[in-house]
Amino acid sequence: MKLTRSYKLRLLRKKWQLRTWRKRKDLSLVKLGDAARDPNGIFVFTTLRNEHHRLPYFLQYYRNLGITQFFIVDNNSTDGSAEYLQAQPDVSLWHTKASYKSAKHGILWMNQLLYKYGSKHWCLNVDCDEFFVYPHVSKRPIRALTDWLDTRSMRSFPAMLLDMYAKENLKDIKYNAGQNPFEVLKYFDSGNYTQQNGGQYGNLWIQGGPRQRKFFANQPRKAPALNKIPLVKWKSSYVYTSSTHSLLPRSLNLTFDDKGGEKISGCLLHSKFLPDIDDKISEELQRQEHYGEGQEYKAYGSQTSQKLNFWTAHSTRFQNWQQLEELGLMSAGGWS
């Protein structure tokens, strides 16, 4: 039984590899950064479309953590993102006009770049609106974390998506390009997350947060998944299977302890709810390129988005990683 299951998962992994391989012609290299082959590099992998105003802070944030090279797929941006990225020395850039959806929401492109450039490196897979927070992030660079994970023989690191929002209505938010989004998105939900265990990939399925209570109250099952495993010491045999929610082989998803202890974990601060979400919603509703035919976007659209406001008297104001750790959203997991 166990053997057949692990063989099934192996076949599944091969299938994902094959899918990835079939999309190999989607991407055309625009430029390869200087440090793309640095054997000691810690890399970020990203797919994006029209994120120009978010990019300066995004790059700056991860450079500060010690990321040495960004591998970015530009899905046919029209807002100057590509030109901006091309001018960055630590960015390797690919361009594609192919469908985001048929590339399994970009994951096949990511798998492909990871396969080619990520092997033997610690690779962080994030979107432009996701900001990685880990224990000691304010004082220690990401290499301190990956070195520590290496000494513990850990290969993957979980970071739950934490939706951040402002106190004001969406239309009243004032955000300038390049600004730290969390100067305006200061709040989050601290204690309303549910998790299920036991999918075929062994990963947890975490839901909840402001989006569930605001948009999916009547169909909580459909609320977006918040569990992510963005940081992995990559090997060529690995594949992401569903966004960065799960990987194969299955053991990479077992990032939790079920014997009472806590493993180490972090959070991805999600800066999605900035004023431009409005344009995105209408664009994505037309493109239908996102999850479940843009279930989520439809839900946003049905709210009068200008008045969109997640804030309540029970919202928690973000301070630092220690706060998230104390709240139990992430864990130092023994790293002191």
């Binding site: 601290s190 998790q195 265990n197 939790f256 302890d257 974990s265 864990s331 002191s336």
Partner: protein, 562 residues
Amino acid sequence: MSIGIALLLHQDFDRAAELTHALLREGCKVAVHIDAKTPTIEMADYAKTFGDHPNLTLTNRIRCEWGMFSLVQAQLIAAEALLNRFPRVTHVVQLSGSCLPTRPISELKQFLAKNRGTDFIESVVAGQKNWIKGGLEAERFSLYFPFSWRKQRILFDGFVKIQRKLKISRKMPTGLEPHLGSQWWALCRETLTAILQDPKRRENDRYFSKCWIPDESYFQTLVRKHAKRIESRSLTFSRFDQQGNPMMFYNDHLEYLEHLEGFFVRKVWRNANMLYETLLSPEYTPDQRDREMRLTFAAQTERLEGRRNRGRAGLSMQSRVLKHRNNRSETAAPYSVLLGFDKTFVEIDSWLSKQINQPVHGDLFALGHAEMAQNARLSKGNLTGHGKIRDYAPLDFLTNFVWNNRKDPIIFQFWSVKKQRLFQFMANDPNANIHYIRYAWVPSLMQENITNMAVLKRRVAGFMEMERQRIDALSVGFANFKIYALADVLVQPASILYPLIEELAPKIETRPRILPKTVDWQGLEKFTNVLKNNGMNINLELAENARPQWHDNQSKPILIAE
């Protein structure tokens, strides 16, 4: 006098060079053993920076394997080289490339000059299970360990198992008693010489060469034979977590390091630039050691370190899954559950809340949405009382609710007939304090005026079955519980409510003068008589059952209600 440093290196030679330079600058004599696995180029680069420094000697090299005797050999080689080459060395301190001084070397010199003839080596009698974290203890000495734990794990484990089956038990050379301790010791010349020239050295070495992690036992055992005066502590501060992994030190530890015990610290992260710059600087002049700082450091470290093993009880999160082992449920804090009180008293929650001056929630699992205190729709942490979200994952709702309110008293009502699984969970939770009024459903059933006896019987049977399951669950579960008889509650409410208030708020001494109104129960006796006469075994004066019958005589449960 002068201090000799036996330095064992295997990686990060740029950092090691900085350390070596600083040690030489302070007048230490240094013997360096470099792991033979190191590429020659790296080694040459390292050696080149010292030229022909008179106080430095590079020893011949052997291949070192973690957990094996080769590490002890390297230590012996380096120590021997120091003693032979530098006759004025009085103490030898064992260091690695990832150690850093936390106090100026001059202070160490003064300290050792004051303690001539004393050996500083952690040396604890083996077999007391208090020194080793994660791993074998007595078996380190009694079994053979020819295989590398890191590279030949299967062989290693298999061989240990076989030896256990065969009851292998090696004998230690006579005159020795097994001791364990940190390998970062500082021994005086006399003791070290005695160990190196022990007449039984060959026998000792042969014995220890098949022990596991002998670098934590070789010197620690032999000093007990040769030393005059032992202080059983290491001059190098290091910490190990429960898995036996050494703690790393980073820039943010800087403010604490000078206050730690000892004169060195291990292991320092290779990129902790600030630590290297500060601690190796000739101008480094730390303050006096401050106990408060040391305690703060220990508390902070233990808190974060403890996460891995113990975790926080009742916390369900991305890297910790609640495991309800042996049917025992896990929540974060004690909470009180009232069952049947809202069916017997009018507006009990607001009355009770006033008496004990704490929020009392309504039925958190009521149909529709959670009835939280003050009609709130959201509670701490933005946990919503929305029925669909709550019912999507009711157990998560409960554990989240308890986690979010873990620092406050938690009191809520519960009834939902359909949520037996949830009740089961609470009945198995040592944190739950359950107050249960039996037959609390009877008055409201009476008010329904059901005339069709068949329907009434079916309803009654349903309630009784539910109640039987709940009482059974309580009687075998881990929760604290009290079961009250409906008759007592209605006739003498004070006898129930006073103790309840006392339990929920022990500090409040005044007894309430006004009791809550009970529900209308006129005709209850007649109603129950009707039920009884129709064959339903109802007894409103009954509180606690004897244990369910099948527990006593193992026969099948008898459903009395039918």
